[in-house]
């Protein structure tokens, strides 16, 4: 995992939750393109957080090889659906699996940056504690963070230790009558489990915005 700060000529700013595409072109003209969520809040220096995927075509370069001053092609900002507006007063439930937390952190950072008062809660599913991104910072953003560690837990762990299920969502999610906005991001199975579970709790599907991550890096 690595966070890269990008300096993009002509970048007009972005909204919390958007992503960008990175395109790499080899000397023989072969191109590989991948999407990365923007981790920084609007108004902060543009940053992406990239998870290294073994055998990936783009992430090994971004995580292991790229150096200060290197240049590559970026397209964006992208997305008008999976975005949160900081003047939105409704409570916000963020549900992230693995690196799917990145665009959600941009939303939490944006809320902190503008002094937003909308209640915001993050349910963050990670394989283990070492894989939790932005540890430390998350506690400082004024957002309630609930972790579940699905594969391995540190000694003395008292939090959730299983995949997201309906009981967990019922414990963590805002009550239905609060009409929260929900953003779910992660692998396809994770996103569908969380979104379907929330609908079973009585959430209106239109409150739930989802973004599925692919497994190619």
């Amino acid at each position: 995992m690595r966070t890269l700060e990008l300096d993009v000529e002509g970048w007009g700013g972005h909204r919390a939750g958007q992503h960008l595409d990175v395109r790499l072109t080899s000397e023989d003209g072969y191109q590989a393109e991948r999407s990365y969520s923007i981790a920084s809040a609007p108004g902060e220096r543009l940053a992406i957080t990239v998870e290294l995927l073994e055998n990936g075509e783009v992430s090994p370069y971004l995580v292991e090889d790229v150096r200060d001053g290197d240049v590559f092609e970026v397209r964006g900002p992208i997305g008008g659906y999976f975005v949160w507006n900081d003047d939105d007063p409704e409570p916000v439930l963020l549900v992230g699996g693995g690196s799917g937390v990145v665009p959600l952190v941009a939303m939490a950072r944006e809320r902190a940056r503008v002094g937003g008062t909308a209640p915001m809660k993050l349910l963050y599913s990670s394989r283990n504690w070492d894989d939790v991104i932005y540890r430390g910072e998350l506690e400082t953003l004024g957002v309630e963070v609930v972790y579940t560690l699905t594969r391995q837990q540190p000694p003395g762990w008292t939090g959730y230790a299983r995949r997201i299920d309906d009981d967990m969502l019922r414990d963590v999610a805002f009550a239905v009558d609060e009409r929260p906005r929900v953003y779910v991001c992660g692998s396809t199975h994770f996103v569908d489990a969380a979104a379907d579970g929330l609908v079973r709790l009585g959430y209106d599907p239109m409150w739930i915005r989802t973004e599925r991550f692919g497994a190619t890096g």
């Binding site: 393109e33 397209r75 997305g79 599925r212 692919g214």
Partner: protein, 85 residues
């Protein structure tokens, strides 16, 4: 029908932006099969085909295909009833 390769319209936001010059993930799109109307971001997308296939999340109808060739890109919208910009 959804499996680990099933992405959603967010995944092709950059491609659509490049092809059409506007942000389309929030644009409502009506299925030509069942008539369901959903934002592009809420459609099922497969990018590991030859090209891109966009399917209705309700009836699985193929709504859009996008095939990039060396000279031109072919966008087939025959499975949709309308795209609102």
């Amino acid at each position: 029908m959804t499996d680990a390769r099933t992405l959603d319209g967010n995944a092709i936001g950059g491609l659509l932006l490049e092809l059409f010059g506007v942000e389309l993930t929030a644009a409502p799109c009506t299925c030509g099969g069942c008539g369901a109307r959903e934002e592009v971001a809420r459609l099922d997308v497969y990018v590991d085909c030859p090209g891109v296939v966009v399917r209705c999340r309700h009836c699985n109808n193929v709504m859009i295909t996008i095939v990039r060739g060396p000279e031109r890109t072919r966008v087939d919208l025959s499975g949709t009833r309308g795209l609102e910009l």
